[in-house]
Symmetry: C2
Subunit: 455 residues, 2 copies
């Protein structure tokens, strides 16, 4: 393809003026960018024009397609069954992948999971898995296929082969104020997920104070865009919109979240983690063809907990990927962070709000997260919450326990928690966790009465 | 100034979201960019955000100020008199600087003129001057001052010292579809002009098919912005809006335009060239304090033609800057292009429209212009029009004569001229050349009755 097939400036100009680009034109821009024939400064001008002028459905699909095909697209057709993965737009304490992937795999549905690392206030599945001593997420794509075949499950990181255009574009968006753009977010997510070789996908699109997207209306737009792209690629795609007004579960931090996940797999759940995990697991089991209805899928998910097969699946995959299974079998044997301190209530009252962003930043400051992509994370650092929204507290009572190996960080983390927690005379009304479902048929309010298994 | 005085991403984000930047913030962006501490890809995202969200008056002045002070600002205070320059937004056949600068200098007003080169369909004053054998536009800034002192006139190109930030930003805008943006155009023009050390400025803001800006309303916005920036910098700034529905004058090409300019200085004018040249000259003479009114200024301009002092001024400056004065004294002695051919009328009728852009591109193809900045130009190439709008033509009659040293280019140039010329049964109504005047007091319709000297 010659470098001058299209005039790049005229393509930028057309988007700038609110016009649309053809699939071939978008493919050209992404291809040229991937092979360094189109400089960053032209791409960033294009991205800003896209940010401000938007993209229609065809364009968003086209950019996802181009990014997907900038690298290797896995073919898992040799593996029996409907391959299903899950993606979450992320939030503080969101360890759901660690729980639902073993559940769904144990229910007989292959889960080929390619995950990311934490950045800023949110953690990443890879960092959490690596807190298990020896656990190797850097499998090559041959091993990736082998491990799924053997266990119906694998956890790896995005390799250089997978959607390299997305990796470069994401880095560029990060430094040019073009991150929060629905078609770009959607195509970035979908290009990576589609490259895994999946047949179906469930999406957890979070909104609220602790989520990347605060506004439910924005979250709906993103969910629709994600589902549209999935449908365009003939993948069975369902998105659930979920509320994130506070951290998910009680533990935040890499090992701390693995530990909480193990307890969940032993049927000792925080309510919010249970509800969303069972929902997404049930959906994946249904999408994977192992259950007729979502409610049946949820019942099957519960059975994998009760019969111990989900926990066994986690143990098996830890062994397969080189991890120390002793810490899974006895989480109490894990070496804790050197220092702990309590965050206590300044007055009597009820926790009325928790700014999950501030909690995530506090955990980062304790060592659990990273401000920049190359920063290492401390597996043992983090925060264990004792109180969540609606809980009563007394002055001096412990609200959260901070874990760190860098004692000097307690002050800044405590300060962030003081900002995060609001204690008032009484709590407000609690909101339902799951608000909407989006599938190829459109967007609907989530109807709890149709999934009695969830309660 | 530390690199992290401001967070660049948050400045881009604010502009993206329609907010405004302070003078200090804009200064920071331009300073960092000039010293290579801010990469092209961040600047281009910022420029696209500016393109789509605009800049207010303070921001446009701030960016002009920052670009002006990115380099040397000339101090001409040792030269007596009010230093006045002219800038045109450019068009096909626009040789007005070559005529008005000698007129105004001959009337006793110092004209320190820093000009540019041609690009695309428009020519540049520097290329035209360089068609005079030996003429040197690359004077250093010491010589620049010396020559103005001696002749009230100098013609040079933008040196590396003058507004280097503008040079870099302009190159970036060119490849990122962020050229046609009024605050960026205005600050680019004004930063260069203000660096010359002028006291006053007249602006010719062209609109119509042959102009850079087609829409008169856009031209008004640009003119107001230019005048506002000038006023902000305490420079007496006046802008005239002029119509450009066809090329200016009859000759297009480097030497051909010098030749036509010499004839004008001998009082043999095309009507359109005469009208706008006298207007702008008269304004400059008035702004330079040598005439009470615009009409008086125009009368003085006419006197410099009639008494030969303007032509003498051109001759003197050609000699001073190393040019061969023989071709000024006898334009017929200039070595013409090796090949000429006629563009003839396909049918009887009246010329009803001439797309000046296509004529400019035809001239470029003949060798008079450049597609890329580093391309050399042919001094002798170009087009001599025989017919303009309103002229009757008969089938087979010559409409224009093409001059080139690259005979093979005739076909493409003739094809462009066929697209450019519209011959119909009768011509439409002609429009006034000068439409509006903009000064510190605002925008006004141009009132021909107040300048009887113009007719």
């Amino acid at each position: 393809m010659p470098n001058n097939k299209f005039n790049v400036v005229s393509l930028i100009r057309r988007k700038r003026d609110g016009g649309n680009l053809s699939k071939t034109e978008i493919q050209y821009l992404i291809d040229e960018y991937t092979k360094d024939a189109l400089p960053d400064y032209q791409m960033s001008a294009f991205l800003m024009a896209v940010f401000l002028k938007g993209m229609n459905d065809e364009e968003a699909s086209a950019i996802a397609y181009a990014m997907l095909h900038s690298g290797k697209v896995m073919d898992l057709s040799e593996i029996n069954g409907v391959k299903v993965d899950k993606h979450s737009t992320g939030g503080v304490g969101d360890k759901l992948s660690l729980i639902l992937a073993p559940i769904v795999a144990a229910a007989g549905v292959p889960v080929p999971m390619i995950s990311g690392r934490g950045l800023g206030h949110t953690g990443g599945t890879l960092d959490k898995l690596e807190s298990i001593p020896g656990f190797d997420v850097n499998l090559d794509l041959t091993r990736y296929v082998e491990v799924i075949k053997k266990h119906n499950l694998v956890f790896i990181g995005q390799t250089e082969d997978i959607a390299p255009a997305d990796k470069r574009l994401y880095a560029l968006r990060d430094v040019t104020a073009t991150v929060e753009c629905i078609p770009l977010i959607a195509s970035s997510i979908m290009s990576k997920k589609l490259a895994e070789g999946i047949d179906a996908l469930v999406l957890d699109v979070k909104h609220g104070s602790g989520a990347f997207i605060k506004d439910p209306e924005e979250a709906k737009l993103l969910a629709r865009r994600l589902v549209d792209i999935g449908s365009e690629f003939k993948k069975d795609t369902v998105a659930y919109l979920t509320n994130m007004d506070q951290p998910l579960g009680y533990k935040i931090g890499n090992w701390l979240e693995v530990e909480e996940s193990i307890f969940c797999l032993q049927d000792e759940w925080p309510d919010d983690v249970r509800e969303i995990t069972l929902l997404l697991s049930g959906s994946m089991i249904q999408q994977g063809g192992r259950a007729e209805t979502l409610d049946d899928g949820i019942e099957m998910a519960k059975a994998t907990i009760q019969n111990g097969s989900a926990l066994k699946k986690l143990r098996d995959i830890v062994i397969e990927q080189g991890g120390d299974v002793a810490v899974i079998e006895d989480p109490g044997s894990y070496k804790p962070a050197a220092h702990q301190t309590d965050f206590t209530a300044a007055k009597d009252g009820v926790v009325s709000a928790i700014d999950a962003y501030q909690v995530g930043m506090a955990s980062l400051e304790l060592g659990a997260g990273r401000k920049e992509k190359t920063q290492p994370v401390d597996p043992a650092a983090g925060i264990v919450l004792r109180k969540k929204i609606g809980d009563k507290v007394k002055q001096g009572e412990t609200i959260a326990v901070l874990h760190t190996n860098k004692e000097a960080q307690f002050d800044v983390a405590l300060e962030l928690l003081e900002k995060a927690y609001v204690v008032e005379d009484k709590a407000g009304a609690s909101r339902p966790l799951i608000t909407h479902v989006v599938d190829a048929g459109g967007i609907h309010d989530f109807d709890y009465s149709r999934v009695p298994a969830l309660k």
